[in-house]
Point group: C2
């Protein structure tokens, strides 16, 4: 595999993702980085996001609401998608790794992991619904 070469664009993307908790899409990231590097192209953003995911420096989240989202927080954690405002939030919760055991109990293959996200109303939208 080829050695990675430094690039200020990639650095800016990593930097941005490490400071935001918004779980932005590639396009949102593109819009943001463009303020600093007006000539950056969407292709470069995608290429670098994929590189960073491969390196394990960021995480790709798929909430099947259109486009993929990215997260600079690589600690194992869970995500929540608000059906109202479409925001993605981090959930502070106990591990649910045991569901792999439940899934494998009666299964002849090998369970290596799971993809899980929760949905519903975020605190803010929930409050508005209660009014």
């Amino acid at each position: 595999m080829a050695t990675l070469k430094y690039s200020r664009q990639r650095e800016a993307i990593k930097e941005y993702l490490s400071h935001t908790h918004d779980h932005p899409s590639a396009d949102t990231i593109y819009m943001h980085i463009r303020q600093q590097y007006p000539n950056i192209s969407l292709g470069t953003v995608y290429r670098n996001l994929n590189l960073l995911v491969e390196q394990g420096e960021i995480i790709k989240i798929n909430c099947q609401d259109g486009s993929d989202r990215f997260d600079g927080n690589t600690d194992p954690h869970y995500h929540f998608l608000c059906k109202d405002c479409n925001n993605v939030l981090d959930l502070e919760m106990k591990s649910i790794d045991h569901i792999n055991v439940i899934a494998g109990a009666d299964f002849d293959g090998k369970i290596e992991g799971n993809v899980t996200f929760f949905y519903g109303l975020c605190p803010e939208c929930n409050r508005q619904h209660e009014v």
Copy 2:
């Protein structure tokens, strides 16, 4: 909302999905229905799949491996994606609905549900890896 009108194309799609356990993609369904209705268009397949999902007669599965897949089995159940052969299997397992409670324990919003699927090696691919 407009009343649904009978259509033999939609009926054929529903019929196909009720008999297969392959979790086919829209394109696979299209290829199959075309044997019976050579003039059916992909657009019609997509339109009807969306209608059937809305009616709750089929389920849309997103395993983020390219395209969405569809399932005629609407009973609550879980899916497994084989990383080797890319097949989607049904899992016979206990409910894991309690993870919604775990997720909501320390959360101010409202958890309405979760999307979960498991991945690893299916029985067949697992056997080959053991050799």
